[in-house]
């Protein structure tokens, strides 16, 4: 099953942040590591798609005063999600193996 770049980033972030992956922490994690900041809306739209595919599942967390009494929504990666991510990383690894970059040093 195909995954968009943001979906790949989200799966990696959720795995890396386990068990504290929720909207804000996921957004910060991706921004710190990629320099790109996806909007809260695009994160949730993609998480919705991943949940439909059965790659992640969500559970409600605690409400805090800074959140105006709104509960956090924590995400965890499922076994099919881990499998899909592993296959993707293996494919990237296989494709990038032995590449010789042209031009200036990157």
């Amino acid at each position: 099953m195909e995954l968009t770049t943001l979906e790949q980033h989200l799966l990696l972030a959720i795995l890396g942040l386990h068990p504290n992956a929720y909207g804000v922490s996921i957004q910060d994690h991706i921004k710190e590591r990629t320099g790109h900041e996806p909007s809260t809306g695009s994160i949730y739209a993609s998480l919705d798609r991943l949940e439909e595919k059965g790659f992640v599942k969500s559970r409600q967390g605690e409400a805090t005063p800074e959140r105006g009494g709104k509960r956090k929504l924590y995400f965890t990666i499922t076994a099919p999600g881990q499998r899909a991510l592993k296959e993707l990383l293996q494919a990237i690894d296989a494709l990038s193996h032995g590449l010789r970059w042209k031009g200036a040093a990157i």
Binding site: G23, S39, G41, S42, Y44, D48, R67, G69, R71, K72
Partner: protein, 134 residues
């Protein structure tokens, strides 16, 4: 323990079955729940959720998100934006943070609405196909 008897900063001891009751009033108050030794008694600490006026995000932006998104997602999205807003107020002040909040809201609405519309169109196409067939 009743909601009326709960006060900001006070501590109460309640039984585990009262935790369900706590869930019902969590919208009005914040509670820190600490299990005590035997796991059957809980200590709760009530904290007011009333925010100082300069800590309140723009109400219309919050309302837009709450109205346009489905409830389970709206809560999470608004909560995340409120958390960001809280941090931004400390750094940039109320007015700049309010503008930032509007920016985050508008940036967030587009993909979420796009997804909702896409889903509706997909279902519309399925229904139209079924109607054509029968």
């Amino acid at each position: 323990m009743s909601k009326d008897s709960a006060g900001k900063g006070k501590k109460y001891s309640i039984f585990a079955d009262e935790v369900l009751y706590k869930e019902q009033i969590v919208l009005d108050m914040h509670w820190d729940i600490i299990p005590i030794i035997d796991g059957q008694h809980w200590m709760v600490q009530a904290k007011s959720i009333a925010r100082a006026p300069d800590r309140c995000p723009p109400k219309i932006a919050e309302f837009l998100l709450a109205v346009l998104l489905r409830p389970s997602r709206a809560d999470a999205v608004v909560g995340d934006l409120n958390e960001r807003f809280d941090g931004a107020v400390e750094k940039f002040g109320r007015h700049r943070s309010a503008r930032m909040y509007w920016g985050w809201t508008l940036r967030s609405l587009w993909p979420l609405l796009g997804r909702a519309i896409g889903k509706a169109l997909k279902w519309g196409a399925v229904i139209a196909t079924v109607r054509r067939l029968f």
